[in-house]
């Protein structure tokens, strides 16, 4: 076995083990955020509706205490905003309530973080910046090393000069075809 191949094998094996956890995070989150048009990958939207005695259309200073008294919220109120003539929006740390002043209908919406998914998306989208930026950069370098060392692990008909080469060519051709068709044709 040539020295070069031995180095490739060593690098691929050691870095491969290290990359398992990070790859799972990026793969799971990748699928989740890929379908952001169809669902919220980080939060589950929980909606409730109920009715209170209609406070009527009046100045915000007048209706606001009446609404808050009837809602009797367990959480502190962050803000109260008159969204429209007949809608008062009450915002708490975990919910938004739109109260129809004319009908008394209360529409509550809570965004409940999805366990695990919210955290892996947080990492994948690098929302924390700082430290994770460096880890993600290092991971990218590791992926590159895995990709570059992979083709040289074995030789023969399953290697680069055989079936492996065909798979590798397909891996290059696929994105090129998609870009050409989606962007230029």
């Amino acid at each position: 076995m040539s020295k070069f191949r031995k180095v490739c094998r060593f690098l691929h094996r050691e870095l491969g083990f290290f990359a398992v956890g990070l790859t799972v995070i990026y793969a799971v989150s990748g699928v989740a955020v890929n379908h952001v048009e169809d669902w919220n990958p980080s939060y589950e939207q929980v909606r409730n509706e109920w009715t209170i005695a209609a406070p009527g259309i009046a100045p915000t200073e007048t209706v606001s205490p009446l609404v808050l008294e009837q809602l009797s919220l367990e959480e502190p109120v962050r803000n109260v905003w008159r969204a429209t003539e007949d809608v008062l929006r009450v915002i708490t740390p975990s919910a938004t309530l739109d109260v129809n002043l004319a009908s008394g209908l209360v529409r509550e919406e809570r965004l409940v973080p999805r366990p695990i998914l919210r955290d892996v998306n947080f990492l994948h989208l690098n929302q924390g910046k700082g430290l994770w930026t460096w880890i993600a950069d290092a991971y990218a370098v590791i992926l590159l090393l895995l990709a570059l060392s992979g083709p040289f692990l074995i030789k023969g008909r399953k290697g680069l000069t055989g079936r492996g080469g065909v798979w590798m060519t397909l891996g290059f051709v696929l994105p090129i075809v998609v870009v050409v068709f989606e962007k230029y044709l």
Binding site: V7, R47, N79, Q127
Partner: protein
């Protein structure tokens, strides 16, 4: 072990050690940058870490002005943050928006809406009732979490006006309402169409809420 194999292993170990050293250096540098500024540590723009999206020198200057400008205990910085200086009342901005088109503006107010799917915009309530303005940011460049609803934000960006016909406005607002899981009434859109004014955001500072 075969001496030749041992030699290869040593070389490989050296390469891996070098990689880990680079990673460790990154961690140390990152900590050194993040530590002095709690606003950055809480999720703000780290000039050392986001060189691709931030103009480092400008950002650093801005980040300093932000921390100097903010009332204690500071806030979470998004994107490039905001420069020091007074904010313009939203009612004043929207009274004559044409005057400010294409100019950098800075406004302040409670956050009354957050994009639920991508976190790519927030709505800031005006000092005038039933009035708000949207701060739109590049998808993925800045992500606003829904937890900031109701908190006060200082936002900065360029005011833009998007003229829309009745049909375009209905389609746009309908889509936005659908994304937010809200209902939309087409009759609220004037027949002659609308010009939607919004701030193309470069940064924001969200102040800590009173109850947290």
């Amino acid at each position: 072990m075969n001496p030749e194999l041992r030699q290869v292993d040593m070389r490989s170990m050296t390469v891996i050690a070098a990689l880990l050293a680079i990673l460790a250096l990154g961690v140390v540098t990152s900590d050194a940058v993040a530590d002095p500024d709690p606003a950055k540590a809480a999720g703000g723009c780290d000039p050392a870490a986001c060189a691709s999206t931030c103009k480092s020198a400008t950002t650093e200057a801005k980040a300093q002005s932000v921390s100097a400008d903010l009332p204690a205990p500071g806030g979470d910085v998004y994107g490039e943050g905001v420069a020091a200086g007074d904010t313009m009342p939203i009612s004043k901005l929207l009274a004559q928006p044409e005057k400010h088109l294409g100019h950098t503006v800075r406004v302040q107010g409670p956050i009354v809406g957050v994009c639920k799917s991508r976190g790519c915009w927030i709505e800031i309530a005006s000092d005038k009732e039933m009035q708000k303005i949207q701060l739109k940011v590049e998808d993925g460049e800045i992500v606003f979490p829904p937890e900031i609803m109701g908190q006060t934000a200082i936002v900065e960006g360029v005011l833009e006006g998007i003229p829309m016909t009745h049909e375009q406005a209905c389609a746009f607002l309908e889509h936005e309402a659908e994304c937010q899981g809200e209902s939309f009434d087409r009759s609220t859109v004037p027949a002659e169409g609308i010009t939607m004014y919004r701030i193309k955001g470069t940064g924001a500072v969200v102040l800590a809420s009173a109850e947290s």
